[in-house]
Symmetry: C2
């Protein structure tokens, strides 16, 4: 053990997939750790990082257990709790903060990561460019009515919208319902669909919003959609939203 009574808990974003999208700070946190705790999928992404840390993997749905273990071990050790993408966006920061709020004590540092929307944006061109909203269609932790309302408000505000967790086998109907809502506001607008961004099997499609229903079978939990707004352009190659400069 490198640390004796000098525990520390890093909540580390591993980025969207490719190991070179880690930040230097995240890499150092992993190298310095006595324990690395995470979902097996994200642990796999960082297996090339050289570290003497003991790796503890677990599976989906065991987030609370993982955070409790991370706090426990961090009393005496340097622990990295890893989170795909950015831990602050549908990641582990929320849960760690909730434990701190409830009185758990530890020296915690949040280490940000590249979230999927950011790499997807660069793959498509630059559909984001300006103001944007990020919405997850997963209703595991939130009521579906709330998600629909948020989506509608983002559409109404002409936000470019990054959509996370658009579909899973269990809730295919949710995606179709979302597509219907999108088409109420974005008829004729462009949308980019990016699957496995920066990972093996990366592919993307750019189409009109009214063609989205065709891709109901294509989208899955590893897919991010970027719904362009009324100003977003596409010429068959590059999808982008102008910044407003005179060129």
């Amino acid at each position: 053990m490198q640390s004796q009574g000098k525990g520390r808990l890093y909540v580390v974003g591993t980025g969207p997939g490719s190991p070179d999208l880690l930040t230097l700070r995240a890499k150092k946190a992993l190298e310095d750790s006595d324990y690395i705790i995470g979902h097996q999928r994200y642990v796999k992404l960082i297996e090339d990082i050289k570290t003497d840390a003991e790796i503890i993997t677990s599976t989906m749905g065991r987030e609370v257990e993982r955070v409790k273990l991370a706090f426990e071990l961090s009393k005496e050790n340097i622990v990295s709790l890893i989170s795909g993408g950015d831990p602050g966006i549908y990641g582990m920061s929320g849960l760690v903060s909730e434990f701190l709020y409830e009185g758990e004590e530890a020296e915690v540092e949040f280490v940000p990561g590249i979230s999927a929307f950011s790499i997807a944006n660069g793959i498509l061109g630059s559909p984001i460019s300006n103001d944007f909203a990020v919405v997850s269609l997963s209703d595991l932790l939130l009521p579906w009515e709330e998600i629909k309302k948020r989506l509608e408000c983002a559409l109404l505000g002409d936000f470019v919208i990054a959509i996370y967790n658009p579909s899973s086998r269990k809730r295919r109907g949710r995606f179709d319902e979302a597509v219907e809502i999108i088409n109420k506001y974005r008829d004729g607008c462009f949308v980019g669909i990016v699957k496995n961004a920066s990972r093996e099997g990366e592919e993307h499609i750019i189409c009109k919003c009214e063609e989205l229903e065709r891709y109901s079978e294509f989208v899955d939990m590893s897919t991010v959609l970027i719904v362009g707004n009324s100003k977003t352009k596409f010429n068959g190659k590059i999808m982008f939203t102008p910044r407003g400069y005179k060129i």
Copy 2:
């Protein structure tokens, strides 16, 4: 010159300030470059990176000129055009994409970066956690009415909202107007104000939205606000929005 007729243009996010928040991919792009082009403020952030590249700095408002030069040099050289934060969020990606859309040719790769909202979120705790919107109050390139409408829609949708460019000396009145709008929807809600995130002079304040007007003189172009939603909590130490897990 490392490259002869093998030009390439990297559009590189330098992150919010601290050099260790660069990604490994961004660091490599800078190291491999023959030229690094950027605003003097962002060039300064990466001065510790070891590179033989010739550095070309310019000032605010010369974005179009900088992009033209980057395309020109990238015909025969490896060029990094740098952008603070993430080039896809109010950065250089939009303008580079516009040139590509208009027929400019180059081998371009967008290298994402950590945007200010992400590090600000970790400094405050985890106010974002779930769905969020990002809005800039700068009306240099967009009409103010459009910005106000977007802000209102994000508030209506109960989005956590990251506000960029909240104020500058020239448009102090815009901030006061935005605060008024925020208070129509978020009375009693918490807001985090983070100045110089991950840079020298970093400081932050967490208060109620109705206290925001007090900080009209404090906020500037180096400040990001994170406006919590109806579920965001604060106990004097940590500001966070629950993910929805049972703990």
